[in-house]
């Protein structure tokens, strides 16, 4: 892909590893059977660069040996600790699908970027929220967009959301046990109705009514489970999603800054303007103090 060219990733060792020309490979012929000999079926269907893995491991972990290039001697140290700090959520209701996420990219204890886009549109009726490793998510989103578009061009119809999720899951399967860390939530609308499907690099693929992913997800679930019902109006659903992300960012150190909201219905996705949660926090303080003042006034009136 173009990204690879810019980053000059066409190393000799990896060319030997993946001698299959990229154009021919096709996810319709996904070679997923794992052969016992390590020689054959490096069958990586895409022309992807896989960084050499650290050589010395105290135990044979599941899949690291598979991708070890035969002549590598270098170990790649990560420049900073990877982290899965985020809050993303998606839920369905009568008016479609709401996808919401915070915008903080953390690297250990550092806020690497306070304004990241964690929700990416794939096509007019499908968006994906990402959590896990930012780099992996960006790559896999692009791959998914590419494959869905290729399918649409070849077969003159769009892949269903369930099929897209299955495709993504099968594409991620060879990387299970490696350090690839993506947890994507596909949120979209199709003629069968709204759908939210969670796909993870561990191999999990779950369709549900409410999905929340990331370090802030328990807090978000707490708010969503209490307030969500099928019959919510669009405005109520949006404010519930915003509240859930706000509460999660309030408690979770690795989530914060702003909240992105997408609403998907039969006409397609609409992005709400990005909101700074600081404003929400101060509005909440205002509301609380107002309530306290009114309660005090009521109490003094009653007692007198």
């Amino acid at each position: 892909m173009a990204l690879e060219d810019i980053c000059c990733f066409k190393d000799k060792p990896t060319q030997q590893l993946f001698p299959f020309p990229a154009l021919e490979t096709d996810y319709h012929n996904l070679e997923l059977e794992r052969l016992k000999t390590s020689q054959t079926n490096w069958g990586d269907p895409q022309h992807i660069f896989i960084p050499p893995f650290p050589q010395a491991t105290p135990f044979i972990s599941r899949r690291t040996s598979r991708f070890r290039p035969p002549n590598h001697a270098l170990t790649v140290q990560r420049p900073f600790p990877l982290s899965h700090g985020t809050t993303t959520l998606g839920f369905i209701f009568q008016g479609g699908v709401i996808a919401a996420a915070d915008t903080r990219a953390s690297a250990g204890g550092l806020v690497a970027c306070p304004a990241v886009h964690k929700i990416t549109p794939i096509h007019s009726h499908l968006v994906v929220t990402s959590s896990g490793s930012g780099a992996d998510c960006m790559l896999w989103e692009r791959i998914l967009i590419r494959e869905i578009r290729l399918y649409e061009l070849r077969h003159k119809r769009r892949l269903s959301i369930r099929a897209s999720a299955k495709l993504l899951s099968f594409m991620l399967h060879p990387f299970k046990g490696t350090d690839v860390c993506v947890a994507l939530t596909l949120c979209g609308w199709e003629k069968e109705g709204p759908q939210v499907i969670y796909v993870c690099s561990d191999g999990a693929r779950l369709q549900g009514d409410i999905i929340s992913v990331g370090s802030g997800s328990p807090y978000a679930y707490g708010v969503l489970d209490g307030g969500l019902s099928w019959g919510l109006s669009k405005e109520e659903a949006i404010s519930l999603a915003r509240e859930a992300v706000f509460r999660a960012t309030h408690r979770d150190a690795y989530s914060g800054n702003n909240v992105d909201l997408f609403h998907i219905d039969a006409q397609g996705w609409i992005q709400r303007p990005r909101e700074d949660l600081k404003e929400e926090y101060y509005r909440e303080l205002e509301r609380r103090s107002k309530r306290r003042r009114e309660k005090k006034k009521r109490d003094t009136i009653e007692s007198s």
Binding site: R62, K176, G203, A204
Partner: protein, 199 residues
């Protein structure tokens, strides 16, 4: 964390599985179905590592269906179980073993009902009753005590309820509902879900 149970009767097999799909401490789904229909009269119940379960079960499912398409008749439960075990064994000593625990339940015209227990080490055992998961520690003794080979269907469901009651009482994790299915000569029948409220 997950729980599977199977009870074989004189002409049926009763199976149940919990409905929780969890990710670390969060229950992501409350209505997840862990049973895979291999053919008209064979069910595969599959628990284990996330991703491995669905991949392996769907692989077996499609292969069993392919056999039917190629040969015109379905695999018997015993043949399907041995095929599954062979696949588990082949991958066991590869670089990518599947960490899944399985129960295969089916009804054969000539052999009658069969319940097969398989685990991630590729062991296979045909058993009158079996369970997987931490819950098995609590419920196998109940099955030992009350199981008889000539249980009627209602008695088997009652025995299943006893096991679930014990889980709700003593198991540290909350498993609120269970899918229940029964296989006999007429195929697979969905039975009423067992939930916490309905005792």
């Amino acid at each position: 964390m997950e729980y599977l149970i199977g009870i074989q009767g004189p002409d049926y097999v009763l199976v149940a599985a919990d409905n929780v799909a969890a990710s670390s401490i969060i229950q992501m789904k409350h209505d997840y179905d862990k049973m895979f229909k291999l053919s008209e009269k064979i069910l595969l119940l599959c628990v284990g590592e996330a991703g491995d379960t669905v991949q392996f079960a769907e692989y077996i499912q499609k292969n069993v269906q392919l056999y039917k398409m190629r040969n015109g008749y379905e695999l018997s439960p015993s043949a399907a179980a041995n095929f599954t075990r062979k696949n588990l064994a082949d991958y066991l000593r590869s670089r990518t073993p599947y960490h899944v625990n399985l129960l295969l339940a089916g009804h054969d015209e000539s052999d009658g009902p069969g319940l097969f227990y398989m685990d991630y080490m590729a062991s296979l055992a045909k058993a009158p009753f079996a369970a997987h998961g931490y819950g098995a520690f609590l419920t196998l003794s109940i099955l030992d005590r009350y199981y008889r080979p000539d249980l009627s269907r209602d008695e088997a469901v009652e025995l299943l309820r006893k096991c679930v009651e014990e889980l709700n009482k003593r198991f540290i994790l909350n498993l609120p509902s269970f899918n229940v299915r029964l296989i006999d000569k007429d195929g697979i029948h969905d039975m009423e879900k067992i939930t916490l409220t309905a005792k």
